[in-house]
């Protein structure tokens, strides 16, 4: 990329030089198709990730009446998240937070071990850009042909190739936006409703947005997203160290570089034949021989390109390779190359944190109850003195039934021997416990009044709800105000 350099040679008095161009235009990059093992891995990762993305919403999962039988679903209507056998209710949003923390930590761990493999292989921006370049190549040919076509005047040949490319891009974009929407609704219903105009407005809206962003980001923005818009390149600089594996040009072996004739020998020169293959295949348009750079997404395509060249000139492969900074420096100095260290303080720290949070979440999910109670205390009035002097506090009990059957439950109070309660709408009278129905798969609210005799000084009481059939229970300790 072009860098802005200020001309400091200007002397006062001389006529001013033209304004420096502060608005560097994007240099069009024409990545050449690489062949080799990393390219193969990338095709495979692309196929798998795209397949997962497009297919997952169609996986069915029996969820009982009234709920879409979808394995992975973020259902706004019922405010629930479904992930195979896991069901997340709004009250359990911390699982989502946990998942995000896990994702971040995994990214940290992988980055400190293998550098930016996420960027190079799995990041959606990389995957879709790769797919788009593949389409581009199918219509316009490889690097040289594409450059020629771009510089050629408009012709029928140019027109249909360009138009065809954009149409296929748009179709892919639309497919992508459409698949996104399926994660939020019952997939078959939305897919059917889509064409009859019965899908929810938000579905069209979000599909539209994602169609546009896919087309725009993968089609025209490409590496500029990674370089200018993505915060990750900045963060990863703090995560990798001299022990992390990075795509590295082994200058100890390559320099001094230069073109080479068959007749010449290899003495006194480096292995790099300055063929520029590594630059031509690079999707971000940099020269890895200048050292590690912010723009490099570590896709390893330059490794494939260089290895091919090394085989041709009959030199060992791996002039560009995944390597650590310490290893390259050691070789340059001629000291023994240290072994790659998987176990370092930071990798251990990340791994331990991942194991910790992961097992906490698994434990939480396995012991998850199907019954939950939340108690909200009346704030106004905080308490009421009844005619006899007894103290009454009001509460709203929210009973959450996460099973698909209606249940009968018993609400009782503990911690105040003489306290009695009354539930609005249930047969009148004060008692120590009440039996209430709780609807299937939902939240039921009950308004409860608790009366404590004036002789008893109570600060807190405990509500308990118990399933009559299974004995499952939940309790909640809340304040009791008496004005004292």
């Amino acid at each position: 990329m072009t860098r802005i350099t200020l001309d400091t040679s200007h002397k006062p008095g001389a006529s001013p030089p033209p304004h420096p161009d502060l608005y560097a235009k994007r240099r069009q990059i024409y990545p050449k198709l690489a062949h080799g093992k990393f390219r193969t891995v990338k095709w495979a990762v692309m196929a798998v990730t795209l397949a997962v993305y497009y297919i997952v919403p169609w996986i069915r999962w029996n969820r009982g009446p009234g709920i879409p039988n979808q394995a992975v679903l973020a259902d706004f209507e019922s405010e629930k998240l479904y992930f195979f056998f896991i069901e997340i209710w709004p009250q359990e949003a911390y699982y989502l937070a946990g998942l995000l923390i896990l994702a971040a930590l995994s990214l940290f761990l992988v980055t400190s071990l293998l550098g930016r493999v996420w960027c190079g292989y799995a990041c959606p921006q990389t995957v879709w850009t790769d797919l788009y370049v593949w389409v581009e190549r199918a219509f316009e040919g490889d690097r040289a042909a594409r450059m020629r076509l771009d510089h050629a005047p408009m012709s029928f040949n140019k027109l249909w190739r360009k138009a065809g490319k954009h149409i296929v891009w748009l179709v892919i974009a639309f497919w992508t936006g459409g698949a996104f929407v399926l994660y939020w609704h019952d997939a078959p219903t939305v897919a059917k409703g889509w064409f009859t105009g019965e899908a929810p407005l938000s579905a069209y809206w979000f599909a539209g947005i994602l169609t546009f962003t896919t087309y725009f980001l993968a089609g025209t923005m490409r590496e500029q997203v990674c370089t200018y818009m993505c915060p990750w390149p900045r963060i990863q600089a703090a995560l990798t160290d001299e022990h992390a594996l990075n795509v590295t040009y082994r200058y100890d072996r390559g320099e001094p570089r230069g073109p080479k004739r068959k007749s010449e020998g290899w003495e006194g020169r480096g292995d790099c034949v300055d063929c520029n293959q590594c630059v031509q295949v690079c999707p971000v348009g940099i020269d890895i021989r200048n050292g590690s750079q912010l723009e490099c997404i570590h896709c390893a395509l330059c490794i494939d390109a260089c290895d091919e060249m090394m085989l041709r000139v009959e030199r060992p492969t791996g002039l560009i390779a995944y390597d650590t900074d310490v290893a390259v420096a050691a070789r340059a100095k001629g000291v023994p190359v240290p072994k790659y260290r998987l176990i370092r303080s930071r990798t251990v720290l990340y791994a331990v944190l991942i194991a910790l949070i992961g097992s906490l979440m698994i434990f939480g999910l396995l012991t998850k109850s199907t019954l939950e109670m939340n108690v909200i205390k009346d704030r106004s009035p905080p308490f009421v003195r009844l005619s006899g002097g007894d103290i009454q506090n009001g509460y709203t009990l929210k009973l959450v039934n996460k099973s698909t059957e209606a249940r009968r439950m018993t609400i009782s109070i503990e911690g105040a021997p003489d306290a009695e309660m009354k539930i609005i709408g249930l047969e009148s009278g004060s008692r120590k416990q009440f039996e209430v129905p709780v609807a299937a798969y939902g939240v039921d609210r009950y308004r409860v009044l608790v009366v404590v005799p004036k002789t008893e000084d109570i600060q807190q009481i405990t509500f308990r709800v118990t399933d009559n059939a299974t004995g499952e229970s939940d309790s909640n300790r809340v304040a009791f105000r008496s004005g004292n």
């Binding site: 009035p381 003195r385 005619s387 709408g425």
Partner: protein
């Protein structure tokens, strides 16, 4: 005056604006292109907006502003939205009208609806006097306790809501009036003092048994008609119980003196004309649920 050469920054070779603060000069760099484009776009949008939407204050006699081609008005939009809300509510409101108050309270669905509707009605209409959650204030009864001047049953609360208390233009209103014993010179100051001691004695707080003795016959002749011989009050005419710890206007000696001297006949408006029957039903269920419903 600055010559041309002063106007050029020697380091960058960029023209300056000629402004200098503490030796720091401002470069006259062009604006970023994208920034300029965004600015132009906002200008275009603002013009389109002015043509379509009400935007420009009009000259006197021309209304308040230009109406714009789209003829849109927030007032109308709100009215439409409110209409939709009412229509949605109407369905449930009809169920409320059909059901008895008891049935509403027993039916989980109608109960939850009434509580939600009643709460919002209460907060916007009743909380001004009775406080949020019916916490009450001096002169305004607590609705969350079990002490009722009139009637704390569901239908009793509904009646109070419909007709108010001492609401002069409603014949069915709950009515009663305590005489202004001092102001109208029905009793002397000394007699009122004796009565105060007598009333305080109901809750064991009198400090002069002689005064209590004197007050006894006064109470029997003046007060017992409404408040009963034992001062227990009378629900049918809203006469408060004088023997408990609850005092609507304060239970201190001075408070009670003022009450007997001036009488306190406060008002609650009738809501029949301001709220529809379904709303009043929902309110009754809500108030009944606050904590003291009978």
């Amino acid at each position: 005056m600055s010559s041309e050469k002063d106007n050029v920054d020697p380091h960058s070779g960029v023209e300056t604006t000629g402004h200098s603060w503490d030796g720091i000069q401002e470069l006259n760099n062009p604006l970023p292109r994208w920034w300029l484009y965004v600015w132009y776009i906002t200008i275009v949008i603002s013009i389109v907006y002015m043509v379509l939407m009400p935007a420009i204050p009009a000259l006197p006699g021309m209304g308040t502003n230009t109406t714009g081609l789209r003829n849109q008005s927030d007032r109308d939009n709100v009215a439409i939205e409110m209409g939709k809300l009412d229509a949605a509510r109407q369905v449930k409101a009809e169920d409320l009208l059909k059901a008895s108050l008891q049935d509403i309270e027993q039916d989980r669905d109608l109960q939850q609806f009434s509580l939600a509707m009643g709460e919002s009605l209460f907060e916007s209409n009743c909380a001004t006097c009775h406080g949020t959650g019916g916490r009450g204030a001096k002169g305004y009864p607590v609705l969350a306790d079990d002490i009722w001047l009139w009637d704390g049953t569901l239908s009793g609360i509904e009646t109070t809501l419909h007709h108010g208390i001492r609401h002069t233009s409603d014949e069915l209103t709950r009515n009663s009036a305590m005489p202004r014993f001092g102001r109208d010179k029905l009793l002397s100051s000394a007699e009122i003092d004796d009565l105060v001691q007598y009333v305080l004695n109901f809750s064991g707080r009198s400090d002069s048994q002689a005064a209590v003795q004197r007050g006894q016959s006064l109470f029997a002749s003046q007060c017992a008609v409404c408040h009963g011989d034992g001062g227990k009050g009378n629900r049918t005419i809203g006469a408060p119980n004088l023997t408990d710890e609850d005092w609507l206007y304060g239970g201190e000696e001075a408070d009670i003196y003022t009450t007997i001297f001036n009488a306190r006949n406060s008002h609650m408006p009738a809501w029949t004309d301001r709220l529809d029957d379904a709303s009043i039903k929902a309110l009754a269920v809500y108030v009944h649920s606050l904590g003291g419903g009978e």
